[in-house]
Amino acid sequence: MISIEVSSLKKYYGEIKAVDGISFTVEKGEIFGLLGPNGAGKTTAIEIMEGLRKKEGGEVKVLGLDPWKNGYELHKKIGVIPQEFTLFEKISPREAIIYYANLFGVKVDPDDILKEVLLEDSAKVMFDNLSGGQKQKTGLALALVNSPELLFLDEPTTGLDPNARRAIWEVIRGLKAKGKTIILTTHYLDEAQQLSDRVAIMNLGQIAAMGTVDEIIAEHGSGERLEIHGSKKLADYIKANTELKVEYRKGMISVPLEQKIDALAALAAAEQSKLDWGEIHTRRDSLDDVFIKLVSGMVDEHGEIIVESKNNNANG
């Protein structure tokens, strides 16, 4: 069963193409990760799906509803943590759950929900005294009050310390186990990899790659390669004495392996050179490598691109 259907979705702000024709579907019970640096269009896309923003073009159906036109109806069936979730200062998580239950007109046991999001210990602490992780958990708790079948989590762990992030992951896994469909945006690669069934990497308003993490790596990764710690001189030697493609970057010689036997040729040339070389190993592109290729840069913990576009294949 399909929970979300998006096709050719567009949203422009003047000249800026925040979302530029993206299409995907999300199956019921799936965790679908939207991965990308800040400004990639993740939040705009998710807010259109939530019915908080109006689309400019394309089609969006969430649980069979048009989110903008049928927002009021849709909101009873979905749970949302907006980016940078915040709440009234002087309210405790427990009171907030009761408040939401009253607004939705549902009966819930606040303690059950607090337990589900691992927040029993801070049930009565005022919101402005909660830690970042506890605040996010409060947001998760509120998103669960109306027992939604579909959850939107917009950067649920941004700015949290590693322990708090892992605690949130645990909660999210628990929700998946209960059969909830979850749309997750993040700029943490490990988070997407840990939690998502499928990932869409967004960049500049478009989807650059989509599928399971393995599929994306297989499609966009370079395959296996041999890496040798050594000098530029050694790299040049191997290149001159074999048919292989050789790349050199900062003390690391990298040789893409068309077939496993290529490794032997490279090592034989290295031995022949009489030059010094250190550790050797073979590796495949990780999601990080693919991500860097696709978005032309690495993102820091705030989702900003920290490495400007560079040629990763700079030949030695």
Binding site: G51, L52, K54, G71, K76, Q83, E84, Y100, N102, F104
Partner: protein, 383 residues
């Protein structure tokens, strides 16, 4: 569809949050009472108290018998007491403070920052008994409001001494009966209470809603609330309700303070209720409107002040607009708060219900328009 349950849920959360915030509570409830106390104290001083008059009696005798110390009897009379010890009147306007005869009287008055003084000359008793002319000197500053009262009182006492000289048994034929007229009895504090109630009706809901609505927009709390079944109309309704409750509590505190501390004369009738309901509704909506149409909390604050400050001072809150120049009065007439303050005055002080109905009609129309505009323009979500 408006749901009373959701309004109640939001009301509960908002009021509890408000009560937990000591600062808001201070400004909502305590501050208006403090204003009553301060302004009441400042302006009730010269209308209700007796005037202290420094008096130097240079007639130190010697006297053949105490009965012949007429200077002492004169001083006693100035204090409002007859030779037999009875009080002339309960509301005698002056109280004599004797100054030692050795002091330089003019210098003494200056040193004590007093413009009112009475000097009784050394040979006062002797000359009076001999039937010779003797002058009592009354010091006064014509620009001071107390001077007339002091000289009037002194000449009254002198007249009765002149009369007694010719006929010690004389009883006055002409007297003054006093009657009070309602409007003339109105003290500053009577007027101040409706004014400051208007002030708190304006300030609390207005500032609070400007702040909340712009902050919630910035922190995206509105967006979050839009994901619940709560509607923006319900949200605003619960804020309005809370400020009505707060206004009624604050009204009761201010009236109690005014009556207990300054003996304010105030009428409490059901006519007050529509003003106490519409007022907070009007200014909560106006605050909401300002927060909605501005881009960020900083701009909202500035615009909020621009809208609020003229009303705070020109709408008849701290002083009657009748003492202001005509052009300022014209400005006052376009300020919504003016009609609330005038209405409260009409109901609480003047019992002028015809006037109050007109004020109420004006306030009602403005309130409905502003409330509707606030609900209409206020956006949960963006396009």
């Amino acid at each position: 569809m408006v749901s009373a349950k959701r309004i109640a849920a939001d009301f509960k959360v908002f009021s509890r949050g408000y009560l937990r915030n000591k600062f808001g509570l201070f400004f909502g409830l305590i501050f208006p009472v403090i204003l009553i106390v301060i302004f009441g104290a400042i302006f009730s001083g010269n209308s209700s108290g007796t005037i202290t008059v420094y008096t130097q009696n240079q007639d130190t005798g010697p006297f053949p018998s105490p009965q012949l110390d007429l200077a002492a009897q004169f001083v006693q009379a100035l204090n409002g007491t007859l030779p037999d010890g009875t009080r002339i009147s309960d509301t005698w306007p002056i109280r004599v403070e004797l100054v030692d005869p050795s002091e330089n009287f003019t210098k003494y008055l200056a040193d004590h920052s007093s413009s009112d003084g009475i000097l009784i000359p050394a040979n006062f008793s002797e000359k009076y008994l001999a039937g010779q002319m003797v002058d009592v000197t009354v010091y006064g500053n014509p620009t001071s409001s107390t001077s007339g009262i002091v000289s009037g009182t002194v000449s009254g006492v002198i007249n009765s001494f002149n009369l007694k000289y010719y006929n010690p048994d004389a009883i006055p034929i002409l007297g003054i009966a006093s009657a009070t007229v309602n409007t003339e009895q109105t003290q500053y504090v009577d007027f101040l209470i409706p004014g400051l109630i208007g002030f708190s009706i304006l300030v609390s809901p207005m500032f609070s809603l400007v702040n909340i609505s712009s902050e919630y927009k910035k922190t995206k709390l509105f967006k979050q609330l839009s994901l619940t079944p709560l509607t923006k109309m319900e949200w605003l309704a619960s804020k309005v309700l809370w400020y009505i409750v707060l206004t009624v509590i604050s009204f009761l505190l201010m009236v109690t303070a005014g009556v207990l501390l300054f003996g304010a004369h105030i009428t409490l009738t059901v006519w007050l209720i529509p003003f106490l309901v519409l007022g907070p509704m009007l200014f909560a909506s106006l605050g909401m409107l300002v927060g909605t149409v501005t881009k960020n909390p900083e701009t909202a604050g500035v615009i909020g002040n621009i809208v609020t400050f003229p009303m705070m001072f020109l709408a008849g809150t701290f002083f009657p607009i009748s003492i202001m120049p005509q052009y300022l009065q014209s400005i006052a007439h376009v300020l919504p708060l003016y009609y609330i303050v005038e209405g409260l005055n009409n109901v609480m002080v003047y019992a002028n219900y015809t006037g109050a109905v007109i004020d109420l009609a004006v306030v009602g129309v403005i309130t409905v328009v502003i409330f509707a505009a606030a609900v209409k323009l206020f956006k949960w979500r963006e396009d």
